[in-house]
């Protein structure tokens, strides 16, 4: 079986190289049949990669420990579901998943666009072939998941903290996002290589970008929720380099999704858009490099593996390729129109883009700072949470405000008076909300108060837009159906508002205390009364489960249990926190226990206001993205009409 997997990967490498070399030659010399052949090779590469992935999945399901990978990441007690999820629990398996998604996305993207964008696809194939060749080479020559050994009696098992449903979904979501960004990158590169830098590549890849962006965003929310419920420190985001690795391409892709609207409508920001799409792709590969190179200290202690250098080389080469291509095609990327006023929708989108990119680069600076100080000063210095929090507020709050202004401001130009008239209702609502919040005591945190007030402003602008539109067409469903992209975007904006409120509430207004209790003793905190009843220990086949039991009364009545699980395979302790949710307030009572042999327990009690809005934001975010992505026959007809002149000239 391992031989079949190895052979399948070698076939993938051959097909990807063929797509790169033959596809590039065919596109350059305009040989149609050879280009079709290269495209078919890319589609077949998905088939051979699928065979390799199925071989590994079968070995995982059968606990075939003759595969080194299976023995290192599973054991016999692991359920089939978690055993299969070990496909992305280790380095080699996750790279195989990368390649599977890449070839799958690539095959679908070139197949769907093969007729409408034939000239562009001819150049897209070699670009995707090049990326796939790199990953296939790494899997064949450097990090093969099909290394075999004399099978041991049992495997090492899956890390306890990864045995969680969120961890089953979180990594593949991120991979779907990271890899998905290769498609718009390939189309942008294809447009530059072919010299056809009109808006077709943007139109063709809009849904791909949206899908990748949605996966990446939702994957991060899932990861944050996993950290919150499983890791047991009371937080959900630690600005760790590996977490930042997913945030950076998402920020760049967010900027891109906004700026493409300006190019589609006004023919502006062409250079900016190709830079953004290249940045998003390079950051997604850089993130993969970061997680596997050990160049920075992270709570995710990724090993110093031989693939780090290969990834760095790939990032450098592909970045230089992108830069050279953009510089070479600069004369073709001139704007059709120019910015007429600093008070216009175009300008607002530009400000939004600058803030998003500034935030992205700020995070990148923080991630690279230890490496840079080591290189420059010979001393590693790391940047802490205050740095990131400062810039999140500095760039995030103006972004929130722009999210309200952008959709309501006129294209081309407007006056301050006209803008104020348009925004009268939202401004009124936010002022009233701000005043009410101050009266309610929310003034204790200025950033929190600003975030809440700006959130009220954005929500009010969305409501104003929907009400106006509904009045015009008669029904909200008709309104959304007529412009799914626009109203899907508003739903996503609402999700961002929920996220902002959740982050502001749980961080700026969160409360915590720590107390040592003996059985029978009681502590009071923030309207809760917690009485410690005692400790139980249950020995299960998987773990020794130690729990401290508490009776809670006051704002919530009931019992909770918190403690640790000492897993047996592999032997690892894992904290088990108690979380009680007040759905009406969106608030959590979060209790962590440090159980001592003396019978005393140190309880850390956190009250996290509105934290559940963050998870709700994830669901709303996906819904909004689905609305924006949903196929639209009218849009398709417009697209065909629009592309007709370009096809005729091709």
């Amino acid at each position: 079986m391992a031989d079949l997997g190895r052979a399948a990967l070698v076939v993938t490498l051959g097909l990807a190289l063929y797509a790169l070399v033959a596809g590039g030659y065919a596109a350059h010399t305009n040989r149609r049949r050879l280009a079709d052949s290269a495209r078919n090779a890319l589609v077949c590469a998905f088939g051979s990669t699928l065979v390799a992935a199925l071989v590994l999945l079968a070995a995982l399901a059968r606990h075939d420990f003759s595969f080194q990978y299976v023995a290192a990441h599973t054991n016999r007690t692991l359920s089939t579901g978690y055993a299969l999820s070990a496909l992305w629990a280790g380095q080699e398996g996750s790279l195989l998943l990368w390649l599977l998604i890449l070839t799958g996305y690539g095959a679908l993207a070139v197949f769907v666009n093969r007729t409408l964008l034939r000239d562009l696809v001819a150049w897209v194939v070699p670009v995707l072939g090049g990326v796939a060749s790199f990953f296939a080479f790494v899997l064949v020559a450097v990090a093969s998941p099909f290394k075999t050994q004399v099978p041991p009696v049992d495997g090492a098992g899956l890390t306890a903290s990864l045995q969680n449903p969120y961890m089953v979904a979180h990594p593949p979501m991120l991979y779907l996002g990271y890899v998905g960004l290769a498609v718009p990158f390939a189309f942008a590169a294809g447009a530059l290589l072919s010299g056809r830098t009109d808006e077709r590549w943007i139109v063709a890849t809009r849904r791909w970008t949206l899908a990748a962006w949605t996966f990446l965003g939702f994957g991060q929310i899932l990861g944050a929720h996993w950290a919150y419920v499983e890791v047991g420190w009371g937080g959900y985001y630690a600005w760790d380099p590996v977490e930042n690795a997913a945030l950076m391409p998402w920020l760049a892709a967010t900027a891109f999704l906004h700026s493409v609207m300006i190019q589609e409508r006004k023919g502006m920001l062409k250079v900016w858009n190709v830079v953004l799409v290249a940045l998003a792709f390079e950051l997604s590969v850089f993130g993969t490099f970061l997680t596997r190179s050990d160049v920075v200290n992270s709570i995710h202690s990724f090993a110093k593996s031989p693939i780090g250098g290969w990834f760095l080389a790939f990032v450098v080469i592909s970045s230089l390729f992108s830069l050279a291509l953009i510089l070479l095609r600069l004369p073709l990327l001139k704007a059709r129109t120019k910015l007429e006023s600093a008070l216009s929708r175009e300008a607002t989108f530009l400000y939004n883009n600058l803030l998003l990119v500034a935030l992205c680069l700020t995070v990148l600076w923080g991630v690279l700072f230890p490496v840079l100080t080591q290189l420059v000063k010979g001393e590693t210095r790391t940047i802490g949470r205050p740095y990131y929090d400062f810039f999140l507020r500095a760039f995030g709050l103006p972004l929130l405000l722009l999210m309200g202004i952008g959709p309501l401001i006129a294209w081309r130009r407007t006056s301050v008076r006209a803008l104020l008239r348009t925004l009268a209702w939202p401004i009124g609502v936010s002022v009233v909300c701000g005043a009410a919040l101050v009266l309610a005591g929310a003034g204790s945190s200025r950033p929190g108060l600003i975030a809440y007030t700006f959130s009220a402003f954005v929500l009010a602008t969305i409501v104003v837009e929907v009400v106006r539109g509904t009045r015009a067409v008669g029904s909200v469903f008709t309104l959304v159906a007529r412009n799914r992209r626009r109203y899907g975007g508003y739903v996503v904006h609402a999700a961002v508002v929920l996220l902002a409120i959740g982050i502001a509430g749980s961080s700026a207004y969160g409360r915590s205390t720590e107390q040592r209790l003996l059985p029978g003793q009681t502590m009071r905190f923030d309207g809760y009364r917690l009485t410690y009843r005692g400790v139980t220990r249950v020995n299960t086949p998987q773990a020794l489960e130690t729990r401290a039991h508490l009776d809670v009364s006051g704002r919530w009545n009931g019992s909770i249990a918190t403690g640790t699980n000492d897993y047996k395979f592999p032997p690892e302790p894992n904290k088990k926190v108690a979380i009680e949710t007040d759905w009406l307030r969106g608030e959590d009572l979060y209790v962590i226990a440090d159980i001592r042999n003396s019978g005393a327990v140190y309880f850390t009690v956190l009250v996290k206001p509105l934290v559940n809005l963050i998870w709700l934001a994830g669901i709303v975010f996906v819904l909004g993205s689905l609305v924006a992505m949903w196929p639209d026959a009218r849009e398709q007809r417009r697209l065909v009409t629009r592309l007709a002149p370009a096809r005729a000239s091709a």
Binding site: A71, T291, F302, A303, R336, Y387
Partner: protein, 133 residues
């Protein structure tokens, strides 16, 4: 064909440069902490983040006045240097135990690190552990 104003480019570059300088200043002046391994501490003092492997025995209690005590060695025991740590604060993460890679932040003075925060590195997805024979 619209003409491009070089003044706009100069302003944009100037804004970017100011932002970059501000970022550097912020990072260096306020938020950065030297991160060293035990063998790199040398004559340093003050706020530090020490990356190392926990060496037992781990004694005491993080919540008590005396604190929890343990030592840190270089990762992979590259050099035979130990740093003694007195840790006060929140419970260390559950994975904290001898042999585990950690980052301890605190103040280093008179040969001891007075720790106030511990990050225990996750047993990674991307490190392979030896299967049972």
């Amino acid at each position: 064909m619209p003409t491009r104003s070089p003044a706009r480019l100069v302003v944009a570059l100037a804004v970017a440069a100011v932002l970059a300088v501000f970022l550097i200043y912020q990072a260096v002046a306020n938020s950065s902490t030297p991160t060293v391994t035990p063998s790199q501490i040398g004559h340093q003092s003050g706020k530090l983040a020490v990356v190392g492997t926990v060496v037992g025995p781990v004694t005491g209690d993080a919540h008590s006045a005396a604190g929890m005590r343990f030592a840190l060695a270089d990762p992979n025991d590259a050099k035979p240097v130990r740093v003694l740590v007195d840790y006060h604060g929140d419970d260390p993460p559950p994975l904290f135990q001898p042999g585990r890679s950690v980052v301890v932040t605190g103040t280093f003075a008179r040969g001891r690190l007075s720790g106030t925060g511990i990050i225990t590195k996750c047993p990674s997805k991307y490190t392979t552990s030896a299967p049972k024979a």
